[in-house]
């Protein structure tokens, strides 16, 4: 039985691109093993609702006993944010699997998040730095395409997923049953990462994200070109460009994009990147070159692309420098921090430009300026007039509908389960998957459990003796053609063996019992028994040509091991009784004979 567990807490806030705010947490029970996929948190809540409800998993009892392992697909907080809470505060001591880059970057993000929550917002009852460290000690890092044996039966394997550095899809396999969980993935390559890829592993179930279930995207090149052109033009005019970004993921892609463009076009205008979190992250990007795309992998021997030549660390004082410049600043929605400070300084000049590379939540400055507002009220009743140009340029790292279909086509699963998306959109994709790929598709709601029946194939060992005997009887076995053979199936200690019956008896220490069927056939005949037997003999001889029919001297007839005797019951001289007796092994022939004899003997040519 393979049950895909509750798609708990799918994202409630969703839209735009590049930011996943939601809680991913899926529990899968496969052939008796329980695996938790991702342990995400919800950024939108500040109370208990931000973490998944782990008490749901086991009403009572320890999580460690119940779960065999936890798998984290990538380092975004909506996929790993609840990990310290889960392992340290709720209590889980089992293994946590993730890829090496995820293992490296995840604690930085968690620490950053903790700082904001505890230090800035002053929350209590939150996990501590020590908890993050302790939690990371439980992590087992895996390589791409490395098959990790969790225990004797459960094995997992990671595939490349694109999306962000270190994002992976996981195949979970027990015996012949398997599930693939995609996490978030991207089927088109971008400037720093390649495309997701999976082999034809034919899992029983594919759990895929469906963020862009109803979107088919245009080529990235146009958007990149537009972005570069805008930046280039503004800089040539002497304007300043502000690009508010989140620290990880898209920021690196944009950096690479601008860096290579600067290199190609031989530009000298400075590019700055606000320091802090990003610097640390960039350090890891430099280290995990095998996880990046073809171009970076091929050229890193000459130069590591993440060792930016043109991009320098930003200092607050630089914002007032004259002349053109490009600045990446956090956070991405212009709601606070450095990006907002710079924005306020530059907003008044129409030569300048701000490029929003992602979606902005309602109420933030970013959203306001994107929806065309030109006069902003800032704190202290100031009114800020926005003269600078405002551009929107979305770079998303999720697979679109076509990409999802492509992945499903690559993996060839028996069924698909959609998570991580909006119900209405998923409905459309579900319909398409069922129509075009003819694969059954499920889309469970939060807390819902889907149970899938599987037809697991059970390997059965066959004894050599039996096999040889069967081979000797018939022709050579032909590949891909079923063949019938007789034997005894022994199920012992959850392994199956097919042996000959004699051996089975011997092994089990049982005596062999003879089982004989006897049958009386009444025939209307006035002749003597001997004569009767002779007629039966000649009849059978003519009918069963390829069997050995014998007439014994005591007046009985044998067909192989079947014995036929004619007897005359005393009461009715007109009827004779044929006694037919056969062993269990000859059941087929015996029943054939009785039915034949019941039809009567042919009239003798008298």
């Amino acid at each position: 039985r393979c049950g895909a567990g509750f798609g708990r807490f799918r994202c409630l806030v969703r839209g735009g691109a590049g930011q996943d705010v939601g809680r991913s947490c899926i529990l899968v029970s496969i052939a008796g093993k329980n695996v938790m996929l991702d342990c995400g948190m919800h950024m939108g809540f500040n109370d208990d609702r931000r973490f998944p409800d782990f008490s749901y998993i086991t009403q009572n009892g320890r999580l460690t006993d119940f779960l065999d392992c936890v798998i984290i697909s990538h380092f975004h907080l909506d996929h790993c944010g609840a990990l310290p809470y889960f392992s340290e505060m709720v209590g889980y001591d089992g293994p946590i699997y993730m890829t090496h880059p995820t293992q490296a970057i995840c604690p930085i993000l968690l620490e950053d998040y903790r700082k904001i929550a505890v230090d800035k917002k002053g929350e209590a009852n939150f996990f501590t730095s020590q908890m993050i460290k302790d939690c990371m000690k439980k992590v087992v890092a895996v390589h791409l395409h490395q098959t990790v044996q969790v225990d004797d039966e459960l094995e997992i394997k990671a595939y490349y997923a694109g999306h962000v550095l270190g994002a992976a899809m996981f195949q979970i396999k027990v015996g012949s049953e398997s599930v693939v969980y995609t996490g978030d993935y991207n089927m088109t390559p971008d400037r720093h990462l390649g495309a997701a890829w999976i082999d034809k592993c034919r899992p029983n179930l594919l759990i895929t994200e469906s963020t862009y279930a109803t979107t088919i995207r245009d080529s990235k090149r146009c958007r990149e070109r537009d972005f570069l052109k805008k930046v280039h033009e503004t800089v040539e005019r002497g304007g300043k460009v502000l690009i508010p970004v989140f620290a990880l993921g898209r920021a690196q892609e944009l950096c690479i994009l601008l860096e290579t463009f600067w290199e190609r076009m031989n530009l000298k205008v400075p590019i700055y990147f606000s320091t802090g979190l990003t610097e640390k992250a960039n350090h890891y990007y430099k280290l995990f070159i095998p996880w990046t795309n073809q171009k970076i992998r091929k050229t890193f021997v000459q130069r590591n692309m993440f060792e930016f030549k043109h991009i320098k660390a930003f200092d607050r004082a630089f914002a007032d420098n004259p002349g053109p410049m490009v600045v990446f600043a956090t956070p991405g929605m212009l709601h606070a921090g450095q990006s907002l400070q710079i924005f306020r300084k530059w907003a008044g000049n129409e030569k300048n430009m701000v490029i929003m590379p992602g979606y902005c939540v309602q109420g933030t400055v970013g959203h306001k300026i994107l929806s065309g507002q030109r006069k902003l009220e800032m704190e202290g009743r100031q009114v800020l007039e926005v003269k600078m140009q405002v551009e929107y340029m979305s770079f998303s790292a999720h697979a679109d509908a076509k990409g999802i279909m492509q992945l499903v086509g690559q993996a060839e699963p028996e069924s698909v389960l959609l998570v991580h998306g909006e119900a209405k959109k998923m409905e459309f994709l579900k319909q398409k998957i069922e129509q075009e790929l003819r694969v059954s598709c499920y889309m469970p709601a939060n807390g819902e459990t889907v149970t899938l029946p599987t037809s697991p194939s059970i390997p059965v060992g066959i004894s050599l003796g039996l096999l040889k005997r069967e081979m000797a009887q018939g022709l050579l076995p032909e590949a891909k053609k079923p063949r019938l053979l007789h034997g005894t199936l022994i199920m012992k200690d959850s392994n199956f063996r097919l042996v000959s019956s004699e051996q089975a008896l011997k092994e089990l220490g049982l005596a062999e019992h003879q089982l004989r069927f006897t049958c009386r056939v009444h025939l209307h005949d006035t002749r003597k028994e001997q004569e009767m037997a002779l007629r039966v003999y000649s009849h059978l001889k003519s009918v069963l040509k390829d069997h050995c029919v014998q007439h014994l001297p005591d007046g009985s007839v044998t067909v192989e091991s079947i014995l036929i005797q004619a007897a005359a019951p005393s009461e009715d001289p007109g009827t004779k009784v044929l006694l037919v007796s056969w062993t269990y092994q000859d059941e087929e022939l015996g029943s054939f004979l009785t039915s034949l004899l019941k039809k009567g003997l042919p009239q003798a040519p008298s």
């Binding site: 088109t188 400037r191 805008k230 280039h232 405002v390 279909m405 390997p459 891909k480």
Partner: protein, 944 residues
């Protein structure tokens, strides 16, 4: 599922086996190559039966290899191979075919294959081999089955009729047999089966159409090598039966096979394995018969956002352009989706060709992207409408992250440029690439702009502005930009016309300041305008006075960029130039002919007269070559020949020929110098001109032979003693012999010539003493007739100009002595054949007392081929010197290396015998063919 898993397990297991087998296979392959020749030879001689020999060979194969003895061994083995009749080998091997080892069996089949391919005529053997192959097809080892299929593919009979009458063997349908193995359980066997099928096709067997369906099934195979081969097979079938009709599954419609195959291959462009993707993308390009409807689908991708139809950026750009607005800059929601999409009608996985190129061009592997661009190029060349449509995508590829892809797409665009007109927004993107820091990209782009059609005057203006920007950023691009503007101007005269006042910044009322004539940007603008003015007679009216002056100046200094104009009111310029355009062709050609005919009469003149005639003919020809660039090649070529003749005559005219040897010593300088110079000139004639035919080669060699004879005579006169003469005579006679053998076909044309006479006397020469030979030669040289040089159709002199280093710089190139300094060399070569092998850079340190010269072979990658007959060499020369204190000049020049045996035609008797000993790369000498450039360099003493 269970079966599949079992299969996987089984195959994983067998993979190990295969590796072992490969190792052994390579070992056995050495059977024909390696070591210890002598020992082997003895062994093989000892062998009494083929079986014995086989044993020796097998033993031998296990021994280690010695590099130096390889050649000898190969010879022995080959000899032995030829000695044994193939039947013997065949029979020797045949009994062992019942061996139980699969690996041995596979190897034996391999040998049989080799035997079979060696004996293409012997039908009987081929039949038997095919039989053997068929018998072993049911073997349990994949290796054996592989080899059997390979054998079938290589030897399977082409025509069935032949099979029937050959020895009464049952006719085998090889295709059917191979086709059955398309569904073998081992992927390697499946691959081998497809490859065998392809092999049959290559050998000219017409494949059945039924294979198509089988091959289509293999497209969804689990293994990439099977899929990759299947794609090839489908392509082959689609080329064989393009027009036959196949049904579309799950509907009752039918389409052409080539369209169906196109759709299927397009689908493979989004395969999981990049090898297959590359294969598929490459093959798409050569499917030209596909209908345009399908072709255009490949660029189609329906966009959608939240179930609403969205337009692509390309469509938006087009719309914006057609509505006449300028791009207003993107706002958020500018690309907001409009209409609702009918959920039922959306097809997420198209069976057909939809979006194949969109996917291919976005692929993560650059190999796939390059293949896709190439395919686009080929398809666009055959279909103008498709060219128009794929433009947007190609333009997008200009911004690819990998330079190779960018370069490829620019080249592609250039190739299809006669089918397309660039829209303004596309031009904008194209021009943005002009700022690229890579010189190759920029120059490719200039080439592209040379042959682009621009639709509006704004487009021209934009192009000019961007090119000027390029010029200020990269001043080294000057020549390339000027050339580009020349073509841009001459292609779009009407679009340039309205721009002229603005470009020249003339004003209706005020005189404006005269621009600086040395400003490259100003020259660029003028080049554009003057070339446009050539076909636009109204334009000169807009010029101001100084423009005319500048025209006259540029026409003189940059005549290759500025055409002759007919200017109103400027009689002087127009009258001087225009007649020369119209009626130049004929008289000069005539003149050339006449002056060459004049030389015919050479024979009848006295030596003095002949010398004079030759002298002024040479002068005429040289002047003609200078005046007429089209005839320069011919004129130079014939002038060189005549100069050789002149030198010969002069040398023979020496008064002191008959004076006794000791007195002659001083005079011999001139004769021997003449001989040497003739030799040099003949090498130049042979190797520096492209288009030289066999006829000319004979004459040139003949001239060289005469020079050699002269040399011999001179040495005979100046040296005392006979011993060295013997060797020289012999060598000379050998040369004559060679000449006769190489040019036996041309000898009848050489009547009355030196060689002709020489060959008559050959028997006598062979036996006579050196002194006598010299005497005969001397008389013959005097008597021999002048051979007329037939002119080739097309002849061009190879030339090279070093653009960089420019020479005149006063700033020395500094470097620390003992270390290396890199000198950038940039040169254009014209009419050089095979520059990769022949061109060298020579660095001569002339000013340094040691006079040391250094020769450098540029790498093949340093040569670029921007146009037919033209090459560009961009390379770095590394200079180094240890002891050197003053700044001094170093001379750089380009040399042409030649090998005198390269041009000699191979005689039929040469090919049959042993392999000719000469190696192709054997270089005998070099000819300098560019002006030397001096570079000022200064080594600094190394700091301790």
């Amino acid at each position: 599922m269970a079966a599949h898993l079992k299969k996987r397990v089984y195959e994983e297991f067998t993979k190990v086996v295969q590796q072992q087998q490969e190792e052994i296979a390579t070992k056995k392959l050495r059977l024909t190559k390696p070591s210890k020749s002598a020992a082997l030879h003895i062994d093989l001689c000892k062998a009494t039966s083929p079986a014995d020999a086989l044993q020796y060979l097998l033993q031998f194969a296990r021994k280690p290899v010695e590099a130096e003895s390889v050649e000898g061994v190969v010879r022995i083995l080959l000899e032995h191979y030829y000695k044994l009749s193939p039947f013997e080998i065949f029979q020797a091997n045949f009994p062992s075919l019942s061996l139980e080892s699969h690996q041995v069996l596979a190897q034996l089949l391999d040998t049989l294959l080799a035997i079979g391919t060696k004996l293409p005529e012997n039908q009987a053997i081929q039949m038997r081999l095919v039989d053997v192959a068929c018998k072993h097809l049911t073997d349990t080892s994949h290796g054996v089955r592989n080899k059997c299929l390979q054998l079938l593919g290589n030897l399977g009979s082409l025509e069935k009729s032949v099979t029937k009458d050959a020895e009464g063997l049952a006719a085998r349908d090889v295709q059917k047999i191979i086709g059955d193995y398309f569904s073998d359980q081992d992927p390697r066997v499946r691959t081998a089966a497809i490859k065998a099928m392809l092999q049959l096709h290559e050998r000219g067997l017409k494949l059945h159409q039924t294979i198509y369906n089988q091959a289509c099934k293999l497209l969804s195979d689990d293994y990439e090598q099977v899929r990759s081969a299947a794609v090839q097979l489908i392509w082959v079938v689609s080329q064989l039966y393009p027009e036959s009709i196949v049904p579309i599954p799950s509907s009752n419609e039918e389409i052409r096979l080539v369209d169906d195959a196109f759709g299927k291959i397009c689908h493979m462009v989004s395969d999981g394995s990049w090898v297959v993707r590359v294969q598929a993308a490459k093959l798409l390009g050569s499917m030209e018969q596909v209908s345009s409807h399908f072709l255009e689908q490949t660029l189609d991708k329906k966009l959608m956002s939240d179930l609403r139809r969205k337009r692509t950026a390309h469509e938006r750009a087009k719309e914006l352009y057609s509505s006449g607005e300028f791009s207003s800059g993107r706002k958020w929601g500018d690309d907001a989706p409009k209409e609702e999409v009918d959920t039922g009608a959306v097809n997420l996985i198209e069976s057909g060709a939809c979006g194949a190129f969109v996917h291919g061009l976005e692929d993560e592997m650059y190999e796939v992207r390059i293949a896709a661009v190439e395919a686009l190029c080929m398809l666009a060349q055959s279909s103008p409408s498709f060219a128009e449509k794929c433009l947007d995508f190609l333009v997008d590829m200009f911004n690819d992250e990998i330079e190779e892809v960018r370069l490829q797409s620019i080249h592609t665009m250039r190739k299809i440029s006669n089918n397309i007109t660039l829209r303004e927004d596309q031009l904008d993107t194209v021009l943005a690439v002009l700022e690229d820091s890579s010189r190759d990209i920029r120059e490719a782009l200039h080439e592209l702009l040379c042959c682009t059609n621009v639709s509006t005057k704004e487009g021209i203006h934009l192009a000019l502005v961007e090119l000027l920007k390029n010029l200020t950023k990269y001043p080294t691009d000057r020549d390339s930009i000027w050339k580009c503007l020349k073509f841009l101007g001459s292609r779009h005269p009407t679009l340039v016309l309205p721009l002229v006042p603005e470009l020249l910044s003339t004003h209706p009322f005020f005189d404006t300041a005269e621009p600086d004539m040395d400003d490259p940007a100003y020259i660029a603008v003028l080049v554009l305008i003057f070339n446009a003015a050539k076909t636009c007679p109204t334009m000169p009216a807009l010029f101001s006075d100084h423009t005319f002056r500048h025209y006259a100046y540029l026409r003189d200094s940059l005549s290759h960029l500025v055409p002759a104009l007919r200017l109103p009111g400027r009689k002087l310029v127009s009258s001087a130039v225009s007649p020369s355009i119209i009626s130049q062709e004929d008289p000069s050609q005539q003149f050339l002919q006449q002056s060459l005919e004049r030389v015919y009469s050479l024979q009848h003149l006295d030596p003095q007269g002949a010398q004079e005639l030759l002298e002024f003919t040479i002068r005429d020809l040289q002047r003609l070559g200078e005046l007429q660039s089209e005839l320069a090649g011919v004129a130079d070529f014939s002038a060189t020949y005549l100069r050789c003749q002149l030198l010969l005559i002069k040398a023979l005219q020496e008064k002191l020929w008959n004076v006794a040897a000791p007195l002659y010593l001083k005079q011999s300088d001139l004769a021997s110098a003449a001989a040497k110079q003739i030799m040099e000139e003949t090498y130049k004639m042979e190797f520096m001109y492209s288009g030289v035919e066999n006829k000319q080669v004979v004459i040139i060699h003949h001239m060289r032979l005469q020079a050699k004879a002269l040399q011999l005579i001179v040495t005979a006169r100046t040296t005392r003693g006979l011993d060295p003469l013997f060797g020289m005579c012999e060598k000379f006679l050998q040369e004559v012999d060679f000449f006769q053998r190489y040019f036996i076909a041309d000898l009848p044309h050489l009547q009355d010539s030196f060689v002709d006479k020489l060959l008559d006397l050959m028997p006598r020469l062979m036996t006579s003493k050196p002194a006598e030979v010299v005497k005969i030669l001397q008389t013959m040289l005097r008597q021999s007739a002048f051979l007329h040089l037939p002119l080739p159709e097309q002849i061009h002199k190879a030339s090279a100009t070093i653009i960089e280093p420019a020479g005149e710089s006063d700033n020395p190139l500094r470097f620390t002595s003992g270390l290396v300094v890199a000198l950038d060399v940039d040169a254009t070569l014209e009419h050089v054949q095979d520059p990769q092998n022949t061109v060298k850079v020579q660095v001569c340190r002339v000013l340094y007392p040691d006079g040391q010269a250094q020769m450098i072979h540029p790498k093949p990658a340093d040569f670029r081929n921007p146009g037919p007959g033209r090459h560009r060499l961009i390379t770095q020369v590394y200079l180094s010197h240890t002891a050197w204190t003053e700044a001094c000049q170093v001379e750089v020049r380009l040399l042409l290396a030649y090998n005198s045996s390269a041009r000699i035609p191979k005689c039929p008797w040469m090919e049959g015998g042993e392999v000719s000993p000469q190696v192709e790369t054997n270089i005998e000498g070099t000819i300098p063919f560019s002006k030397p450039v001096k570079v000022y360099i200064m080594p600094k003493p190394a700091r301790r």
